[in-house]
Subunit: 735 residues, 2 copies
């Protein structure tokens, strides 16, 4: 039950829902931009996947197709005995009154998003009849990201039980069975336990140190894993409070992570849980001051906005410009922690406007990987920089070429690493957005411009000139991944034109504002007169498939020759239409996986064409999309709002809002849909509120709120200035 004050800031599991265990592990993930920790239980539970992922720690396990983010040892482990009965969860069911071996009498777990604290309250009866209340609370400090804190409070409700608590550290941890650690060393002394290990291939070194405080003596053992234990005899109504404080470092932070972790754990334990928590909450208050969107008139949407903002913030690196946010954030093994376009075109928008320093970190991650992008371009016979579709620490393409074996033993060829090339333009688009909103010229001069220009160089070499003098782009994959290796994607081709045009705009700006940088880049990137002439020729002559009779864009060459499937008729459905049709028929149909032409209309707005074409495009492509990708609904909401399609806009917004909260794609267990989180923000700020930069580069609103929303209020930074925007529906409800 939510308190009145926190009702729009909380997600609750009550009572225990064992069938939704992995779902709750994901949605209750904690994090601080340094690491993410799924909400597995302290004492363990069958089928759980305790997972802590630290930004940047990738490893290529033996026999695996690609590298992945590495699960570090579970630091949360706590076992508890009450009069000798092991504390454990179970589904009360009908026989809950007298189960053998103790009984769970009550359970509630609450994620407080305002404070980023996860709290589990339980009521447990031991075999002896003693009943205790056990409250587990934990957070990952936002203000000192190496500090991970737990407090376990045991209260005697009935009887005077003996309590034994064991705080432990996992020694051998895998990613669902894939081994990533070697040279593991564990140790304990009277006050602490430590773990240190190294990743098998990449050689990262990680160390943890934990301390336990108890009302009584703590005893340390290290067999077979590190354990700190303590016994307390509780009086009737008595209470015992245990604090487990863990510190974690990697050799990405400093050279001796073990010493640092020991030192930090000692300091943090000295400070104590309450002081750490207080600072943590203050840190989150500062985050929320800039990142909270307030919606008046729709509680469900309000909670969804906070939920999505929370999950972006806990994954966003505050202090590290050499990592980025993967498609599933740090909340699960899905997509192995790899970074896709999801980051630049979905997750980045709220950060650019609300937390620009973090947005810069994410863009710097790409800058630091320009060499990898240049390597990929060269390896594929192109010039300039061609960013990988899936990116890890190395900067190399890490999309697997083949799938894992299917049930029949065959593998499926995965083409996105080869042909989903729009990622380079997506990154350039994000840089342009960042620069225009923040006015961060320093970033542009020293980092951003080089990316935009060198990826433009790539496209200059990639576009194929035909005999007629027109340019085409063959063998592409657009956002709609149901259609692979197609020719002349409207999305891709139009964005390439935008990209090359933006490159000229940047060059002009550089020449007038920073001629030294213009000269440096012209020289280093070989922006010769011929090359620039080639760009101009591409801008003028790159094919944009358009049906002038119907006045619509044609998603790619031949799209309308495919079978038409009336997607809206397939309602209400549980999954996508694609699996219902079967792979082969779906490929040969007009079913679209996600916003594609519609995505283009979101990114470029009115520049895509006159209003009647935009509306025709909407009416053509919206009913063909099955939203097989979680990236799709929010973009549709955004565009629908801009086009005045209010019912569609709210319907798509709701779909997007519930992707994680109601698990409406069915795979939340694998991690949070990070892009859907950013998309929801875009749907509200760019869609319903219509925030945009006008032709003079000034922020303007063009509100189109859902009819029942009374007001939306949010912060956006513009050119370093913090601005509050308040959008009200013109007619407020009369009493």
């Amino acid at each position: 039950m939510n308190s009145a004050q926190d009702r729009l800031w909380q997600i609750t599991e009550y009572p225990f829902q064992p069938d939704k265990q992995l779902y709750h592990e994901t949605i209750f993930t904690l994090g601080n931009g340094y690491l993410g920790c799924r909400a597995a239980f302290e004492e363990g539970y069958v089928g759980e996947t305790p997972t802590t992922l630290v930004h940047g720690i990738f490893n290529h396990a033996e026999g695996a197709l690609v590298p992945e983010l590495v699960n570090v040892p579970d630091w949360t482990g706590v076992r508890l005995w009450v009069d000798g009965t092991a504390f454990h969860l179970e589904n009360p069911g009908d026989d809950w009154l007298t189960p053998p071996g103790g009984a769970l009498l009550g359970y509630r777990r609450v994620l407080n998003m305002r404070e980023a604290v996860l709290r589990r309250e339980t009521l447990f009866r031991a075999e002896t009849g003693s009943t205790v209340r056990v409250v587990f609370e934990r957070f990952t400090s936002l203000v000192d990201v190496h500090v991970l804190a737990q407090r376990i409070t045991v209260t005697a409700i009935d009887g005077a039980p003996d309590i034994l608590l064991e705080a432990w550290q996992e020694a051998d941890t895998t990613n669902l069975g894939r081994v990533h650690w070697k040279n593991i060393q564990t140790a304990t002394d009277a006050e602490e336990m430590t773990w240190a290990g190294q990743t098998t291939q990449s050689g990262y070194r990680v160390a943890l140190a934990s301390r336990l405080s108890s009302p009584t003596t703590v005893i340390a053992v290290n067999v077979p894993t590190p354990i700190l234990s303590s016994s307390v005899q509780l009086d009737k109504d008595g209470q015992a409070v245990f604090e487990k404080i863990t510190a974690i470092y990697t050799n990405r932070d400093l050279d001796d992570p073990l010493s640092a972790a020991r030192q930090k754990a000692s300091e943090a334990a000295q400070a104590g849980y309450d002081a750490l928590l207080s600072a943590h909450i203050d840190g989150w208050a500062a985050y929320w001051r800039d990142s909270d969107i307030q919606i008046d008139g729709d509680d469900e949407s309000q909670i969804a906005m906070r939920f999505t903002a929370y999950h972006i913030l806990i994954a966003a690196p505050q202090h590290d410009d050499d990592v980025s946010v993967g498609a599933k954030t740090l909340s699960g093994f899905g997509y192995k922690g790899h970074v896709f376009w999801d980051t630049e075109l979905f997750i980045l928008s709220p950060l650019i406007l609300n937390q620009p320093a973090i947005a810069r970190n994410l863009l710097m991650y790409r800058y630091h990987r320009l060499e990898g992008a240049r390597h990929k371009a060269a390896a594929n016979g192109f010039e300039g920089a061609m960013f990988p579709w899936e990116s890890t620490d190395s900067g190399e393409e890490t999309t697997p070429q083949w799938s894992d074996p299917q049930p029949d033993g065959t593998r499926i060829r995965i083409w996105t690493g080869d042909n989903e090339q729009h990622i380079s333009t997506d990154i350039s688009y994000a840089i342009s957005q960042y620069w225009r909103w923040t006015g961060d010229d320093e970033f542009l001069l020293n980092h951003g411009a080089e990316i935009v220009l060198d990826t433009a160089v790539f496209w200059g070499s990639r576009a194929e000139k035909t005999d007629s003098g027109r340019y085409v782009l063959t063998n592409q994959i657009g956002p709609d991944e149901y259609h692979e290796n197609i020719n002349n994607s409207v999305f891709v081709n139009r964005m390439v034109i935008w990209h090359l045009t933006e490159a000229f705009a940047l060059l002009d700006w550089l020449q007038s504002h920073a001629p030294d940088h213009a000269a440096r880049l012209t020289d280093s990137l070989k922006l010769t007169r011929e090359r620039l002439a080639g760009w101009r020729d591409i801008i003028a002559h790159l094919v944009i498939p358009f049906d002038s009779q119907k006045q619509i864009h044609v998603q790619f060459d031949g799209f309308f020759n495919l079978e038409y499937v009336p997607v809206p008729n397939y309602e209400p459905r549980v999954g996508g239409v694609w699996p219902m049709l079967g792979h082969q028929r779906a490929l040969e149909s007009q079913v679209i996986k996600q916003a594609d032409v519609v995505m283009l209309m979101a990114l470029l707005g009115d520049a895509v064409g006159p209003r009647h074409v935009m509306l025709n495009n909407w009416k053509t492509y919206y009913p063909r999309c099955d939203h097989g990708s979680s990236l799709s609904p929010a973009i549709h909401a955004w565009v629908a709002a801009r086009l005045g399609q209010d019912d569609d806009a709210y319907h798509m917004f709701q779909h997007a809002a519930m992707i994680d909260l109601q698990d409406n794609k069915g795979n939340v267990r694998d991690g949070i849909h990070g892009a859907a989180c950013g998309g929801l923000w875009q749907a509200v700020v760019f869609g319903f509120c219509g925030l945009h930069l006008d032709s003079e580069g000034k922020p303007q609103l063009a509100p189109r709120l859902p009819a029942h929303w009374k007001q939306v209020s949010f912060i956006a930074y513009y050119q370093g200035e913090r601005r509050q925007f308040v959008v009200q529906n013109p007619v407020l409800d009369a009493p």
Copy 2:
């Protein structure tokens, strides 16, 4: 997914949740005050309990302990074949793409409470690969309560399937195996099918007639049960609409229910589904104009208010003053349809203020059963009228004396029928409330006063005079049923004093306003001078247990000698504390089942004592209550709001609001908690808004809204005048 417009008027199941089947059957119950129909599926499903309960049709099955409301044959049955594959539900799960024998590809069920229409949309694929969308819609007409309408729309989405639809009527129906029907006769002709039967013991006669309309020929058979069937060959994208219209009558309505049902079915089928639906929606619009409480600032509470109002309205008899609303309304077999104090002290309040004509019907139900109450009094050696704790059609006590056998073969003695005697005063309290709010003198003169006075006669004979000249009431059961056969319940004794005092007030009023009636009742009820003197003596000397040192009421003699159990420590719990302690220990403890002294403070307000005593009572009894009864939380919310205990008030309100919606008592499968529905209304109107009649009998507000509520708006009738009340929180949120 809710549409924006209806988002606060809908309850949705999406996707199909087979593990919550019986929960959804209950919460999606339809009704029109004549009957209620649980939301079992048209085509059937394993474990379902299709149930239609008609007001007033009770029967005592052979071998059963007591009579119960009788399940009439399921009128909703429809079977569908698509290319020969039987339409059926199943949990898609992981293998949903190619299950044998057809597949459910999509499912959404929505109860629209504004229109009282239940709609189920499904997507189904036959073995042949043909895919159809099937929409089942149904309602029980509010404006012609004998008419039950269904529409089944089948649309070909993929392929051109053969459709066979069979509309059927169940012939043999039981109450979970208990047989109530004899002399069953079924028949069909080309246009209709009929069912007629008689209850085994009570001899009620019920008849149904159904008609099917189809785009093609309808064929009737009657082997083994009545079936009307029709086949349609659908073109690709083609659609077939089937309407099944059923009429139902009983011999409580007229003498020949079968002829009436046939006539009505014919007329209604002639009118057609659309016309029937349109009138039905208009009827509900009129209901909602008076019964909708609008809460601004809390969507979850808004939905809960509508949900509870809906469930009271669908069970409230518009046209029948000889039936009442059972504890589980007409939505399930729980409590066998019996009528308890739940009706008068919980369900009646919203009806008195919003739908006074229906409230009058419910009170007349008691008037018609005065003879039963007099019989019970006489049989127990008392005078006057003593209403049964559980009441059915007969007016006799129908509480079973013994439980069904327990697992060990023993039966438990049930004392409520003997000793929970406050029901007679609860009815009188409701009559007083009804009269004072409505000003319905006619009802008072001809019906109400007789009940109040003759139940006062009962108490006059029931109170026990001690040697000291004081009066006591021994062997009582108050609202807190954990403590049986106790002496001097504060609730009972104080309400008896209220009752006798009210009897004098009524007599005074009668003597000055309607001396003929005063004389008639004085004569017929033998209100002699001695008898009235006895009442005055009881009022003056009936014991009210009070601890003058602690300045609190003592729930009953010896309450504080029982073991103290700190109930609030037993959090978070899944059930009550009572079962955790075990029966024997619980009986000997201070754990309270539900509002008892707190209930008294709700009913009598400041008359219970000075404010410091009220607060002391609150602080004493609130932490001792485990809310083992669903009647408890809303009353606590009401009283907490009046006492300025704002956090407790909202907490208890939320608990009450979620009893059915979140099934937080775990027994929604047995039926809606009708009293909790009425209680929620009381918590808002009497509690948060503080609506009351002042010392001059005029309505006044004393608002104490939850801090985040911006406004509450509702209608209340006062003395025949329709008034709108709008309560705003003094400080609206600043932007």
